[in-house]
Symmetry: C2
Subunit: 220 residues, 2 copies
Amino acid sequence: MKRIKVSNNVIRRMPRYLRKLDELQEGGTSRVSSFELGQQLGLTPSQIRQDFSCFGEFGQQGYGYNVAALREQIAAILGMDRGFRAILIGVGNIGHALMDNFSFRACGVELAAAFDVKENLIGTEFKGVPILPMDKLEEYLKKNEVAIAVLAVPKEAALKVTEVLTENGVEAIWNFTNMELTEPNSPILVENVHFSDSLLALSYFVSERMDENAAKPAQE
Amino acid sequence: MKRIKVSNNVIRRMPRYLRKLDELQEGGTSRVSSFELGQQLGLTPSQIRQDFSCFGEFGQQGYGYNVAALREQIAAILGMDRGFRAILIGVGNIGHALMDNFSFRACGVELAAAFDVKENLIGTEFKGVPILPMDKLEEYLKKNEVAIAVLAVPKEAALKVTEVLTENGVEAIWNFTNMELTEPNSPILVENVHFSDSLLALSYFVSERMDENAAKPAQE
DNA sequence: TAGATTGTTAATCGATTAACAATC
DNA sequence: TAGATTGTTAATCGATTAACAATC
């Protein structure tokens, strides 16, 4: 697979392509052109072909793309076939919601264990995932190679846990705390899920539209 | 406030500015220059000044920006002072996690009610927010002006609920379901929170880095 | 005042779109 | 084969960065 430098914009579109291809496949579509895909995603055919060409040649002239084959290529690009092991730190509301509703498997990620401090949770398991005591985290990391740590602890605990994760070779943190974890010289990758940023952007768009409507003279 | 067309990139940076300013304010900093802000956020001073200039003139030559004043300006830009009313549809894991952990108030949004079908939840309230029966949703919307609906129902129910929301004048949906709700000609705004897109992007970056490290000859 | 830093205009850079030869 | 659609090169567009006069 080609590995040229790919812009962030392209990478953020790849999961969208994947979702659309999954949907097409479910609907029984086996073939799709960049034109059709563009229509369904609100993108130009040019952009779609440019995006794919960052990684290789997945189509066929005069035919388009085979949905199943393209889907597998994109899955591979995103690392879904690498069997990354993840652990969840913090089985509070969000942590529990992720364990219950979110399919790590569908992203090609194996959720191997969860950690918490709450006595009543420790030793139990949920959907086959054991909940271990927080003070066994370091030991666990030394014994098991963990690619991704899902951080869903209270704000106060976030920095301490981040340190343990960083020191024990975890590659990346999927961060559900509201803390900014990114240290200037830290080697650990961080992907933030900032709910408030998302809601505030929406709030902006609502405000903007209301202002526009207010500015217009009343119709009819 | 100026309302020229502002690019999506700029809008997505505004909540980050807000968070950083809150942090500075908590730390007792009352004044900040675009240079300092840039350093802390990994942006150029130019970009920061350009971003702000989309909305007005908030600084002072030779001084910089007053942290508290700038914070308020940005809050206003994002619509945080408009008192938007929100309702939550679906008090499952994610819905419950949002009610418990997420501060709508901090985003200037009032969570006025929640809706669910589960008999044991209906009639109760959580942190002062009443949980009402789903079949009273339409009636509620006709009586109360709702700006934002937080959609956290199971996939199967998403489209039906979206229809009710759209028909009853809700401005926007904050979408936690994995469904793509955006109809081509729908007047309702949709902001998607796609956990899987976020995790897959992270998975890409981890893969990329592993490939890079594997390509390098072993050091030492 | 002199120094600092803004707001804004101009220059650069990168991303998107268009065009088209290659080819299934 | 003729028609369709890719992959890629060139053109355009928009976003970021640099520069600087204005001014606190």
